[in-house]
Amino acid sequence: MQYRIEAFDVVVVGAGGAGLRAAIEASARGKRTAIICKSLLGKAHTVMAEGGVAAALRNVDERDNWQVHFRDTMRGGKFLNNWRMAQLHAQEAPERVRELERWGAVFDRTKDGWINQRNFGGHAYPRLAHVGDRTGLEIIRTLQDKGVHGGIAVFMEHTVVKLFKSEGRICGALCYERETGRFLLFKCKAIVLATGGVGRCYKVTSNSWEYTGDGQALGYEAGADLMDMEFTQFHPTAMVWPPSVKGILVTEGVRGEGGILRNSKGERFMFKYISPLFAKETADTEEEAKRWLEGDKAARRPPELLTRDEVARAIRNEVKQGRGTKHGGVFLDISWRDPAFVKAKLPSMYHQFKELAGVDITKEPMEVGPTMHYHMGGLRVDAESAMTTVPGLFAAGEVAAGLHGANRLGGNSLSDLLVFGKRAGEFAATWAERHEAREPDAAEVGAALQGAMAPLEREQGENPFALQAELQQVMQDLVGMIRERGELGQAVERIQELKKRAQQCAAPGNRMYNAGWHTALDIQHLLVSAEAITRSALLREESRGAHTRDDFPQTDKEKWSKVNVLCRPGADGAMSVTTEPLPAWPDDARKLIEGTLEAVTTKEAA
């Protein structure tokens, strides 16, 4: 079987915010850089980000600074974050945002004409630079325009199926071109994985078809560690009706702009779910919450702006207790605000509900419920360089683990992409400077290619779409928001069975833009993450952040607060799951965090 060969210094896989930022950096440092995107340029998941990018710019509230942002991130992550990543992120985010402005991004302005910032869950002060509710579009378009003028070679609609190493170092990647089905071998000195998350292994998700855990699987198969895989973020507010839009995101910006959550009895229920960790700075009356929204700096924040894990669990509990709406959600109401304000601040939410659900959000409440949205876990990386445990292989953005710990704060993803995308590009360029290119082994390439062709050559076999739907049902039912040993055990068994069947997928038709073939290959990647999520969730016998165990409702202050869970290939090829101690906190970081630690370790999961 023939394949074309391309040679570069740095190859970036994925063209969302992290991938584009990495490619811009590597290219600016004089490295021949290619970016491989699964879709067309500018369509990656970043485009769907709504609420904003978190950075302590101090344009709206001068009390903010990187130290507060660092503390908020650590608290939101229930202290499982890599402290150094959280520090770098808080320190470098402001410059990364301002640089976008100089590259052409046009954020909403303050009264004085500087970049405006809005409130968001878990952030102590208004911190999110934004453009209405389409911040992700602004960021990806800015990076895309910057990238194409910076001499990056763009390979649109290409999918990577395998990475190659030589003497332990990364040296190449094999991919297919969607349009023709032809194969390309990239030879390179460094690879940056920026492929995003794994949402497609759940049935109800805000993620697109692309989110099949490609980077996690490619890295894992190349020998890189996966970390914190049990922490899957269920965003509290997504559409629940009609069925065709179930899971589509409703931005946290709605709550940032004053949206109120109520159950079917009309109760503003979030006041019942204020955990000790956040009690000091959360309003306990509607009157105080209202004053805060009106700008009273002495008032405390409304409970709707608690972190995502807390709000999602509260909503699930309300529905479970029989206080949900007809379609199994709760009400989110912004209609009490001026219609012109709602349309200016939340234009795409207005259109989304109007056109897809026939609901006018300036006049009536939305029906919302949780959706699989983001993955805190992923490839384990070095905090400074973003390199994985495989030499020459870097990872940035959602595919990497560490920054967000057990739960990510809204707005911290866009800033993550920029900060660590830039770092990954920088260090990949340095790596490429210092290392020679090596040849991928021809036999390995041949074997990978044959494996990728197999579904096309099979005349009879599993329907890949049906198999993917089965996996989604298993994860939704058995590895969802609330987990338990028996169900997790069942899920492990079901996944083993699905892994075998995935080897028997058949894709009728030829190699040209064949969706069945692509799905048959994607599902093999998806299964790696599904297994790692399930096995890690089974091992972590406590509840923390986005990981809630019905059989272990407490947050454990001993063992589990001190370790990350890791997955790596075992000697027999089976996935092995172990723990490793968190990096120790230096004194200055500890000082910033202290005073809040006691609250989380005594907290009970709702």
Binding site: G42, R98, R102, G113, W114, P242, E355, A515
Partner: protein
């Protein structure tokens, strides 16, 4: 009103070498959009059916097609928009070369974007330099924020007569790039001069203001009124202002009139 039963999806199947419309029966669900019905066909009846999509919420602009002859995003087009008894026809964008089924080659749009000079920030105040930010009033950026809503679905390019019927892609960049140019030209901090390229390379004069692009824009950007017409005016001011033309003609060394 909820509609029950099946819907007939009449989908284009084929490549540049040839093809035809094929009918598929799909069970209706409440609130279903065209993209859902296409996905149902793909999952159950035609695994190799080619279609682009990503966000399924009108934010990425991937799933552009011609639904019953009208350029639309499939993810934002509800089935109950149409007569329940009639088949729903979905065809690929006509302006661009067909790849397969509902997928076309839209690469030309990315190539022309590359030829547009990026933002060139002009002189900054001391305060701006210190902060590393621009000081721009909201009312001064409102008009370019409208252009920046563009999701690059290319429905405007698909419907533009210059591109669709005349296929004059070497003479006109099309409405999408006019909006990109208008955004840069009207940016309060930009100092580049793109007027010559707007006139010549990008070919703003090719637009004859039928406003079809504005009509199909899913982001409701007033492409013609707010973007293209002001660009035409800038070109006219530079090249066709009678006083300027006369002064230029009388400039010493100008031999054109003699």
């Amino acid at each position: 009103m909820a509609q029950r039963g099946n819907v007939t999806m009449r989908l284009w199947r084929g490549t540049a070498a040839g093809g035809q419309f094929v009918d598929y029966q799909v069970a209706r669900e409440e609130g279903m959009v065209v993209l859902d019905a296409v996905h149902a066909v793909q999952a159950q009846q035609a695994n190799d059916l080619s279609v682009r999509w990503n966000c399924k919420a009108g934010k990425c602009g991937s799933c552009s097609a011609e639904v019953n002859g009208y350029p639309r995003l499939m993810c934002m087009t509800r089935l109950d928009l149409f007569d329940p008894g009639e088949p729903i026809t979905v065809a690929p964008l006509k302006t661009f070369p067909l790849v397969k089924d509902l997928v076309t080659n839209v690469r030309w749009n990315f190539e022309s974007a590359k030829r547009i000079p990026p933002l060139k920030p002009g002189p900054l105040t001391a305060e701006e330099q210190r902060k590393g930010e621009f000081q721009m009033m909201q009312q001064d950026v409102d008009r370019i924020q409208e252009f920046r809503k563009c999701i690059e679905c290319f429905l405007c390019q698909d419907t533009c007569h210059v591109l669709r019927d005349a296929q004059d892609t070497d003479k006109f960049f099309g409405p999408r790039q006019m909006i990109r140019l208008a955004n840069l030209e009207m940016h309060p901090k930009d100092s580049a001069d793109r007027i010559p390229m707007i006139k010549k390379e990008a070919g703003v004069g090719m637009c004859n203001i039928t406003k079809c692009c504005t009509e199909v824009c899913p982001e409701h950007i007033r492409i013609t009124d707010n973007g293209i017409i002001p660009l035409k005016e800038r070109v006219v001011d530079r090249y066709y202002d009678p006083v300027t033309m006369l002064l230029n003609a009388l400039r010493p060394g100008n031999t054109k009139l003699r």
